[in-house]
């Protein structure tokens, strides 16, 4: 099997990896914020339901969640069968929203009370205080931990193979199982390394851009 044949097959797998990565990221970033508001809510039932939900999602393996979402409905005799990729996306989005929500919460809670009070005595509304004063400071503080989580997401996409979604790792497995060759595995490693290098570069750039002030 030629280098180019392997490249083509792995590129197909990488396409799926990118889809899982991209859609999870785009959906989880805002959804995480909503979960944050839930877990910081002043209404006890909303707060506790959200906290228990986050605890369950963060306390169980993502792989288990993927399997449950894909097979669960059928095993309960419901008349729904999610397409494999959709099941993966649902599991990833829920899982990553919860992780992001905790990072957001940490960021929001790290902003001093004085910033809110300064906004209040200047007659700003709660919404104005959040969007005009607090949010940017939160974003600046959470870029490093979010970067960690985003790099982890790149590699977590390989969990999709558990329900036979042919992402990058599964694509390589398919090749080595048939051809009995080792090197495509290293080639796969190079895909991940290059992609996370690109993301690291972008995250550093964002960090630098926001470093025009300290604090």
């Amino acid at each position: 099997m030629s280098f180019w044949d392997v490249t083509r097959q792995l590129a197909d797998g990488f396409g799926i990896t990118l889809i899982i990565f991209g859609i999870t990221l785009v959906a989880s970033l805002p959804l995480g914020l909503i979960i944050t508001f839930g877990s910081m809510s002043k209404i006890p039932p909303i707060k506790w339901i959200t906290k228990v939900f986050v605890w369950i999602i963060r306390g169980t393996p993502l792989m288990l969640q993927i399997i449950l979402i894909f097979y669960g409905p059928g095993l309960m005799n419901w008349d729904i069968m999610l397409p494999r990729l959709t099941a993966v996306l649902v599991a990833f989005i829920i899982n990553y929203s919860c992780y992001f929500s905790e990072i957001y919460r940490g960021g929001i809670e790290s902003i001093s009370k004085g910033q809110y009070e300064a906004g209040q005595v200047l007659g700003m509304t709660k919404t104005q205080i959040f969007f005009k004063i607090v949010l940017f400071q939160v974003i600046k503080r959470i870029v490093p931990p979010m970067g960690n989580e985003i790099i982890t997401l790149v590699k977590d996409t390989s969990l999709a193979r558990v329900i036979a979604v042919t992402e990058l790792v599964k694509a390589a497995e398919n090749i080595i199982a048939v051809k009995s060759i080792l090197w495509p595995l290293f080639y796969v490693g190079a895909f991940y390394l290059l992609f996370s290098a690109l993301l690291t570069f972008l995250l550093n750039l964002a960090e630098k851009k926001m470093n025009y002030y300290s604090g």
Partner: protein, 262 residues
């Protein structure tokens, strides 16, 4: 009727009674200094007037308008926003917005206030922003920072930051400007520049309440002095009365101690 009238303010946090019946009044253009040891309730009193805390009982009125009364039902956020604008507050820790430059720190609140919920043409918007901008620059000039408009708070000294905070509070033109220990977070050599600004504001007839540990400042600048102890006003009078001939034993011992460790 006085310009500011504060009556019968009580405030507890849980079982701790912090304010136990505060009554005082002041006239327009006066400077009132509030002194007293830590925990005597000075800061809580300022925070009550600025709607950062809600008193358990009492009334606050400015210029004949009742701003707070414990007899009225709790105010909505929008009502509070309107009412609190009669007061401005300068914090001990400055609390500037780190991501905005000095000019924007001053102009942000007036901009949000004047542009919110209004349908304005681009030209009208531009005009309003320009007016606010000019006014903000003028205020920064009066606190001596016209050369720092484009700097960020982290690039300024503590004294400069506190002067920006004063300009920011003035931008909404409050009836009464409150200072919560404005120099306590500053290095000793930087307190002078902040106190000088407050002194200059006095000459422009600003009504001000200054919670302070700077006894010389209170004595030299204030028209009236309140000494607070254990949640009550222990002594009230002109600086000469309070510092020169204190009636209360508590005031005397406080003043002796503050003069020992200035």
């Amino acid at each position: 009727m006085s310009f500011l009238e504060v009556k019968n303010i009580y405030k507890s946090f849980g079982k701790t009674e912090v304010l136990k019946g505060i009554d005082f009044s002041m006239e327009k253009g006066e400077v009132l200094a509030i002194i007293g040891s830590s925990g005597s309730g000075k800061t809580t009193l300022l925070r009550c007037m600025n709607f950062l805390e809600t008193p358990d009982t009492g009334t606050v009125s400015v210029n004949g308008n009742v701003l707070f009364s414990s007899d009225e039902p709790p105010y909505s956020d929008a009502e509070k926003r309107e009412k609190r604008l009669h007061f401005g507050l300068v914090f001990q820790q400055f609390n500037l917005f780190p991501q905005y430059n000095v000019l924007k720190n001053v102009s942000l609140a007036p901009e949000l206030r004047q542009l919110k919920g209004k349908k304005l043409s681009k030209a009208e918007k531009k005009e309003i922003i320009k007016q606010i901008d000019d006014n903000s620059r003028r205020l920064l000039d009066t606190v001596g920072l016209s050369d720092k408009v484009n700097n960020y708070p982290c690039e300024l000294s503590g004294g400069q930051q506190q002067r920006v905070a004063i300009a920011r509070a003035l931008a909404l033109d409050p009836d009464i400007l409150c200072f919560d220990e404005p120099t306590s977070a500053l290095d000793p050599e930087l307190t002078g520049e902040v106190l000088r600004v407050i002194r200059e504001l006095k000459t422009s007839d600003r009504t001000m309440i200054v919670v302070t540990h700077e006894m010389n400042f209170a004595r030299g600048v204030a028209d009236k002095v309140i000494f607070m102890a254990d949640g009550v006003i222990e002594e009230y009078g002109t600086p000469d009365e309070v510092f020169g001939a204190p009636k209360s034993e508590k005031t005397r011992s406080f003043l002796e101690k503050s003069l020992e460790n200035p």
